[in-house]
Amino acid sequence: MASKEQPSSCSVCGEMIEKNSLCRLHHLAKERLTQGYELWRVAYGSLSYTDYLHSLIALPETGEAVAAVARQILQKKE
């Protein structure tokens, strides 16, 4: 059971949460997003996390769930 402070549904899509206030799909998307950042940093030498997220959102290959998580992280930063 979720405690009183924790939200009861995914902060991206409103589905039932699985972990860290995200549903299963968006939790997985977040995990992959984090892993991907390391590979992008190696590929470009250096890259800020914000630039990484902006690039992902612009790419057609990016999965919908990943793009949604990226947009949410950027919104929180603003």
Binding site: L25, L28, L56, E61
Partner: protein, 704 residues
């Protein structure tokens, strides 16, 4: 020989009843056994043949597929679950649309009463064996215990005659028991799981939507939803490739960098900067010849996949066409898992038959001039039938698409007897500054071998490289580092999903394509690149949460293996059935006790689907209320109706196409602005139409 004919005479005239699976098969069998085919007789709507032969009267009668089916014992509510008690009943009593079978069963029963010898001549496989057995057991008063079995792989006269003479004295009990067990287990799983889903969703949402799943359907749908998760959570990773061009003999030639994929931008830019406009040196020139064997003869799934690849036909459409070709005695039995062509099929006679066709004459003559005819074979075997092959009979009237599938089968068959192809593979290694290694590649067919026989289906690309010598210097012109991003895995299409099912050993060659069709019909997937609907995602989520075993591929495969063991005589029907029930019982107990939670999990998806299915985005042109798609309770026809039909007495309606899967599009008619609909039919391009313009067109033609 003498003794045998004496014995028959002494027995007097026997009356033999032969059960065939389809009307066409019955006609072919009657033709093969009669000197002159008498006109068909009719009884309660059944058309059958009565022939007089040397050993008495032969009655050849067809059934129309399965006449019996599994159903709950007695007559109970179709909403109740779990159900464990079942029996076999005439199909017309259980399912709508099979009313004709009542007369058929009566006719078979009457014919059976006069017969003293029985033969099952249904297709020689699990389904055919069950059809024959059930008909003999229930419609022919227990004749299953004394009936014989004909085995054949083609419907040619010679094969049918031989199968009649060599009919075995008994039915194939292993095949029959394996088939019965499969039907019973599939029924138990399908009915119980589907009712649990449908009922819990209905109680929670108040909407009735038939949510079906099955023993094989669940794991198959899970392949599609899992793929969607991979696509949705795909993070593209950057990588670079090097494209390079050099001038050789006044020709611009592309070169390939030795590392196909570079993970770092800096590395890619280094290669480009240090090789552009530099001179490279040809270090080595290698050439090797490879021999490529012909592809193995067709088993059903490989044939379905080639048909999808080259003719763009869905697996079930291919199967239907193959079925028609088989019934015309043009090809052998298509539901086979074999890639073998035994000599007993008579290679030479088949090829000589094909030689009479102008399109194949020259190729066949080449094959026949070989000292021996020996086909390549694949590893897969099937105890009941060989690989799919042409019978050598030439088609008279085929539709365009049938003749294409026929051509594919014939060419694959011819290719199996043709020599291997030989390809020359060339590679020149070129270095720049001794550090950067590039390749120039070429390939050419030296001897086309079987490829010529399999054309246009097995075309390979030919690329030549210019004449080079070792030590030669060549000038690199344009070199650039091109950035790419890794792509998500592709969505399944019906062909690749079928291969996935086969690869994982779930379903049978007879059932797989039907299960894929069902995913579309049930609204679980849409589009040719299969995208799961919200309902599909929810159903799989719920099944994984409450009964993960049911969608687990290895559990499903294990059960398949056990059922196969009945066929091989290594397990019994009762043993496998009771084990399957033992596995299902706790699952159903849990689903029943969690019914409320399960319903809540499905509720939103069900409501959304019911809404989506019926609502139209354009308001009623006559009263402005919402329009919806409905089905007439009387005629079962679908049409568009105004939602104010009962409350506001709005009479606005529009007709819709009745055949195929209907999908409202997010597009609107350029002429009138009404919502467009797509109608999907297998193997055809989707038909996009505007219901409103359609009606106006009809009115115009009428008034003209």
């Amino acid at each position: 020989m003498h003794a045998r004919s004496f014995k028959r005479r002494s027995e007097g005239m026997t009356r033999t009843l032969i059960i065939c699976e389809k009307p066409d098969a019955a006609r072919r069998l009657a033709e093969a056994l009669a000197d002159r085919l008498p006109p068909a007789r009719k009884r309660h709507g059944l058309r059958y043949f009565e022939l007089s032969a040397a050993d008495g009267i032969i009655v050849v009668c067809p059934v129309l597929g399965h006449l019996y089916t599994v159903d709950a014992r007695g007559s109970r509510s179709r909403r109740e679950y779990p159900v464990w008690d079942f029996e076999w009943k005439p199909k017309y009593q259980v399912e709508r649309g099979f009313e004709r079978q009542e007369g058929l069963l009566r006719a078979i029963h009457e014919l059976a009463q006069k017969a003293d010898r029985f033969i099952d001549a249904c297709d020689y496989d699990i389904e055919g064996s069950v059809i024959g057995y059930m008909t003999l057991k229930y419609a022919c008063g227990g004749a299953d215990i004394k009936a014989g079995r004909m085995r054949f792989s083609t419907l040619t006269k010679s094969d049918l005659k031989e199968a009649y003479i060599n009919a075995s004295a008994q039915l194939d009990h292993n095949l029959v028991q394996a088939g019965i067990c499969r039907h019973e287990i599939d029924w138990l799983y399908g009915v119980n799981l589907s009712r649990a889903l449908t009922e819990s969703a209905r109680k929670s949402s108040g909407e009735y939507l038939n949510i079906s799943t099955g023993r094989v359907q669940g794991p198959t749908l899970k392949f599609v939803t899992e793929r969607e998760v991979q696509i949705s959570t795909h993070v593209p990773i950057p990588y670079w490739t090097i494209t390079a061009q050099a001038d050789i003999d006044e020709r611009t030639v592309p070169l390939e960098y030795s590392k196909k994929r570079l993970e770092k931008k800096i590395e890619a830019e280094d290669v480009a900067a240090n090789t552009r406009n530099r001179t490279g040196r040809v270090e080595r020139i290698e050439e090797r010849h490879v021999s490529i064997k012909p592809p193995p003869p067709f088993d059903l799934s490989e044939l379905q996949s080639e048909s999808y690849r080259h003719l763009h036909l869905g697996p079930s459409q291919t199967l239907r066409i193959l079925e028609r070709l088989y019934l015309q005695a043009l090809i052998s039995y298509p539901r086979t898992g074999s890639q073998k062509l035994p000599a007993s099929i008579g290679y030479e006679a088949i090829l000589k038959g094909l030689q009479k066709s102008a399109g194949y004459r020259d190729l066949v003559s080449e094959l026949l001039s070989q000292p021996v005819l020996r086909p390549v074979e694949g590893g897969k075997a099937d105890p009941a039938h060989p690989a799919v092959y042409p019978t050598g009979r030439l088609p008279r009237r085929l539709s365009t698409i049938e003749s294409r599938v026929y051509d594919l089968v014939v060419r694959r068959f011819m290719a199996a007897f043709a020599p291997a192809a030989e390809r020359a593979i060339q590679r020149a290694t070129v270095t720049v500054s001794g550090r950067y290694v590039f390749y120039l590649r070429g390939s050419a067919t030296v001897c086309p071998g079987w490829m010529r026989f399999y054309q246009p289906y097995g075309v390979v690309s030919e690329t030549s490289i210019p004449h080079l010598r070792e030590g030669q210097e060549i000038l690199f012109k344009e070199v650039s580092a091109v950035q790419h991003f890794s792509a998500p895995p592709p969505r399944y299409n019906p062909g690749s999903l079928l291969r996935m099912m086969e690869h994982n050993g779930i379903g049978t060659k007879a059932t797989r394509s039907g299960i894929i069709d069902l995913l579309y019909k049930r609204g679980y997937v849409a589009g040719e690149a299969m995208r799961p609907t919200l309902l599909a995602t929810k159903v799989i989520e719920v099944l994984e949460k409450y009964c993960p075993k049911i969608v687990d591929v290895s559990f499903t495969r294990d059960l398949e293996v056990k059922m196969d063991r009945i066929e091989a005589g290594e397990a019994t029907h009762d043993g496998v059935l009771s084990e399957a029930v033992k596995q299902l019982r706790p699952v159903m107990e849990r689903l029943k006790s969690d019914e409320e939670m399960l319903g809540r999990d499905l509720r939103i998806a069900v409501r959304q689907l019911v809404m989506e299915k019926s609502m139209i985005k354009v308001p009623c042109p006559s009263c402005g209320l919402a329009l919806r798609v409905v089905r007439s309770a009387k005629t079962r026809k679908r049409f568009i109706e105004c939602s104010g039909s009962s409350t506001h007495q709005c009479r606005f309606t529009l007709p819709l196409p009745q055949l195929g899967r209907l999908e409202p599009l997010e597009k609107f008619c350029e002429r009138c602005g009404f919502q467009l609909f797509a109608t999907w039919r297998w193997g055809k391009r989707p038909l996009v139409s505007c219901p409103k313009c359609y009606v106006e067109g009809l009115r115009r033609t009428k008034s003209n």
